[in-house]
């Protein structure tokens, strides 16, 4: 997000799911969308089968989409940037760039050009292990297509150089002018149902709603007046920084609404210890999560099925959520609980219904200004939508890039914070499963989903398994510099030699006991995709995964 905001002026998906049908070529990099965004995954298969879309999958794992792809490139985890610069090198060397677009819509081209000069296909092949012919082929396909789109996800961002990875993706789109038209663009697929909305609403330490920076005086004054309160000019802490501040005793109280950091954050042992330092932990959730168990106060909240309100999806589509059920017991709406505490603290928030909040919000959020519940209707509308006659914006950067000029970024490849060595010879990379979701608070309680995905295996290539004498279903111990987990092995042709893969959904054998909390300096995203680990067969007592609660379906 930080990467795209810097290069294009907006951190969101540039295009819509529907218009991706117009793409002749699609590069899918670091996105296992069959499992993480299944309906988009279905569309991509459909495009490949019925519209002739040529899909290039770039992923260290053989993801499901590979079977529909024209080409699969499998760099080791952590080498995407070298590969992306390699594509740019080929495009420039062969003169395939869109000169008119570069001239009219971009800046900093020369600095970028001089950086990518050394990324010859031969050099990139030695770095990444991707054959140089595939690098050349991909670059040509992308550059010569009428419309070509790039889709990416956490495989690009969850690195200590994630922001630079994103900038390298955006460089390619700028280089070929694949922006501001159907079937093109730079398309980060957002993970959670309302992660886009939580960002849009200012659920971030440095911005008010609508990405208005807190350190800019005019913004602060606007919100001080609107909220009738005096506001801090200092940007706050990000989630991983919060954990460190707890550990150092600087953070005394934590209020958590609907999140489970005790499972989803990197280096869980450190997180757990840090939470113990708190004087007050308040958790508001629908279940007794790992985090809620540690809390001093737990509030029962309404689930999505019991809420009126809006979610904003990955393509910036704001859609109505409608209350279908009555809250269980005395559970209350999240906003209503917060409002109750605010009122007690002398700042009443007298909202009667969700729509009142939406109408207040849109007065100070330019992208949402033209949206009303009535206008959202059955299909929602895509922001930016500046006024009530505006039809919404399915495609960003049409005619003109939001930033004014698209900024080429001169970004160099650098190794991940941890690279394999003799003590920790494997690269561990993490991800999601189709049948589970995030910390499995919801999916872990649905019998069907648990049956399909009851536990998380460690995926190992047959070559490595053979060397270590590991068989399918054997218990293995995976150890990093931060901790260890014990889990069952699954020998799989999806991973390559030297790489192991584990899904992060479960408390038992939680992979985030191993992951590296080192952050990207700009986006503060931790390097969940690359940690150095060692692996051995485990012969200790059996560890059966404990039940995650009752299953219903």
């Amino acid at each position: 997000m930080a990467g795209l905001a810097a290069t294009l002026g907006s951190g969101a998906m540039t295009n819509s799911i529907e218009d991706l049908a117009e793409a002749e070529v699609m590069i899918v990099i670091g996105s296992n969308n069959t499992e993480t965004h299944p309906v988009i995954g279905m569309r991509l298969r459909h495009f490949a089968r019925y519209r002739g879309t040529k899909i290039v999958v770039i992923d260290p794992r053989r993801t499901d989409l590979v079977e529909e792809s024209a080409l699969w490139l499998s760099p080791l985890p952590g080498y995407d940037l070298a590969l992306l610069n390699g594509f740019a090198h080929v495009i420039l060397k062969e003169g395939l760039q869109n000169k008119a677009f570069i001239e009219e819509h971009t800046e900093n081209f020369d600095a970028f050009k001089s950086v990518v000069e050394k990324y010859t296909p031969e050099y990139v092949e030695t770095l990444t292990g991707v054959p140089k012919d595939d690098i050349i082929k991909t670059a040509r396909m992308y550059a010569t297509a009428k419309n070509a789109a790039i889709l990416y996800c956490m495989g690009i961002t969850q690195h200590s150089k994630g922001t630079d990875n994103v900038k390298a993706v955006s460089n390619l789109a700028l280089l070929c002018g694949h922006l501001g038209k159907p079937g093109s663009g730079v398309n980060p697929l957002r993970g959670q149902n309302n992660v886009q909305g939580a960002c849009d609403m200012g659920g971030l330490p440095d911005v008010y709603p609508g990405y208005q920076k807190v350190h800019i005086k005019e913004n602060r004054e606007k919100f001080e007046k609107f909220w009738n309160a005096s506001l801090s000019e200092v940007p706050g802490l990000t989630v991983v920084e919060m954990t460190n501040a707890m550990h150092d005793g600087k953070l005394k109280a934590m209020y958590i609404m609907g999140e489970n950091p005790m499972l989803t954050d990197p280096d869980l042992t450190h997180v757990e210890e840090s939470f113990r330092h708190l004087e007050l932990l308040v958790v508001q959730d629908i279940f007794m999560t790992e985090t809620a168990r540690m809390a001093d106060v737990v509030f029962p909240a309404a689930s999505f099925a019991e809420k009126d309100g809006t979610f904003s999806n990955t393509e910036r589509r704001v859609q109505l959520v409608r209350k279908a059920l009555k809250e269980p017991g005395t559970a209350r709406q999240d906003w209503d609980i917060i409002g109750g505490i605010a009122a007690k603290m002398g700042h009443p928030m007298p909202y009667e219904k969700a729509e009142d909040i939406f109408d207040e919000m849109r007065k100070v959020t330019p992208q949402y200004a033209g949206l009303t519940y009535k206008r959202l209707g059955m299909n929602g509308l895509q922001w930016p939508c500046p006024d009530e006659t505006h039809p919404g914006t399915p495609i960003l950067h049409k005619g003109k890039i939001a930033r004014g000029k698209g900024l080429f970024a001169a970004v160099e490849y650098r190794p991940s914070a941890e690279v394999p060595d003799s003590a920790y010879p494997f690269i561990l990379t993490t991800g999601r499963d189709y049948y589970q979701y995030h910390s499995a608070t919801m999916t872990g309680r649905v019998r069907l989903l648990k049956e399909y995905c009851p536990e998380s295996f460690v995926e190992i290539s047959s070559e490595d398994a053979g060397k270590l004498g590991i068989q399918d279903n054997d218990w293995v111990k995976v150890e990093s510099r931060r901790g260890h987990v014990i889990a069952r092995a699954k020998i799989s042709d999806k991973v390559q030699r030297g790489v192991i893969f584990k899904k992060f959904h479960f408390a038992e054998g939680a992979v985030n006991r191993l992951t590296n909390p080192v952050l990207d300096p700009t986006s503060k995203i931790p390097e969940l995709k690359v940690s150095a680990v060692r692996l051995e067969k485990y012969n200790g007592p059996a560890v059966e995964p404990e039940s995650q609660g009752m299953c219903l379906m």
Binding site: T36, N194, V234, D285, F311, A331, H347, R445, I525, M553
Partner: protein, 343 residues
């Protein structure tokens, strides 16, 4: 382009089929095997129409309309042919509508009533049949299958999995499961079935009668699929979709279609709790809110606003998120707000 349908002059878009041209002009032609999102195959023969100057009727879903075309969609001859076609389907399809979960919403049942169709020969005693399906989420009753192939084509064309195919021929043709290992339990087939051959496995027959449908948005991933939560007695009982709305146009994944059960869980939190002597104990709302407000005020007074932080949620609504960050900024006085976007 201009054409005449049932004596009325209408305008239609170039390149459309007769069926599309008719529907865009609100002329209803019956179909069973047709679904707008699938390639038309003209196999059910119900969408037959007569074109002036042509002796035999043609299927409207597979025949392109052209300028000046004169079409009849509802002549006695067409009605008789449709009645016969429906009769053939009824020869094998059971008439146990009372037991069927889709009764009342069944496309076949509705057409049979409209056309007064009857099976042409006496029916043998019907034996209900159930066959293991490619996912435990769905119940398959081959005896109800009318071989329209909508499930098969949905799986192939929309989902790209090709789990199903047609087996047998003529009156014995049925859908068959040919590649169960490729199934992802997305339920596209279930939603495509015009009759009750594919139904929700967790629902006994008749349960969804009287359920209320509430159009809302899935709470799992960022695609933001629209669906209808079907509720009865304050419980979510199933999810259905509408092919014409939202980002997903009727498609869902296994979590969206079958993963809603957690909202009904008896493990849901229902009362506030406060930790006393290391143990979380039930408390009243007033007490819990008072406690949190006074503790937050105390910590803020002692250590400053920046000693407090909040995690808002990518699972909560925009409204929840707006109020949460407003609370942290305007009431607590800190910008220490984040959520799991980075994880």
């Amino acid at each position: 382009m201009q054409m005449i349908i049932d004596g009325k002059t209408v305008i239609a878009e170039e390149g459309k089929t007769i069926l599309e041209a008719a529907r865009s002009n609100r002329v209803f032609i019956p179909t069973l095997c047709y679904l707008e999102k699938l390639l038309p195959i003209g196999s059910c023969r119900l969408c037959i129409v007569e074109i002036q100057g042509h002796e035999n009727p043609v299927t409207a879903c597979t025949t392109k309309a052209f300028d000046g075309m004169v079409i009849e969609t509802n002549t006695p001859r067409l009605r008789e042919m449709r009645k016969q076609t429906l009769g053939f389907i009824l020869q094998t399809h059971p008439m146990d509508c009372k037991l069927c979960d889709v009764a009342g919403r069944c496309q076949l049942e509705n057409l049979v009533k409209e056309y007064g169709a009857e099976p042409p020969m006496p029916k043998r005693a019907h034996k209900a049949e159930e066959r293991p399906y490619s996912t435990p989420a769905i119940r398959y009753r081959p005896d109800r299958c009318i071989a329209c192939s909508r499930c098969i084509r949905s799986c192939r064309e929309v989902v790209g999995r090709s789990v199903l195919d047609l087996s047998g021929n003529g009156i014995g043709a049925k859908m068959d499961i040919v590649a169960p290992e490729r199934c992802i339990s997305c339920g596209e087939c279930l939603s495509a079935c015009p009759v009750g051959a594919l139904t929700h496995a967790n629902l006994p027959d008749g349960v969804s009668e009287g359920a209320k449908k509430v159009a809302t948005v899935c709470a799992y991933c960022g695609v933001g699929c629209s669906f209808e939560l079907n509720v009865k007695d304050n419980k979510a009982i199933k999810v259905t979709t509408n092919d014409y709305v939202g980002a997903n146009k009727g498609s869902l994944c296994v979590k969206g279609r079958f993963g809603y059960g957690y909202v009904n869980s008896p493990e849901r939190l229902t009362v506030p709790m406060i930790k006393k002597q290391g143990v979380l104990k039930e408390a009243g709302w007033e007490e819990a809110i008072d406690y949190v407000a006074s503790r937050l005020a105390e910590i803020k007074g002692k250590h400053g606003a920046d000693s407090i932080a909040g995690l808002t949620s990518a699972k909560c609504t925009n409204e929840d998120n707006y109020v949460f960050q407003k609370f942290m900024r305007a009431v607590i006085g800190t910008n220490n707000i984040d959520h799991c976007a980075r994880l």
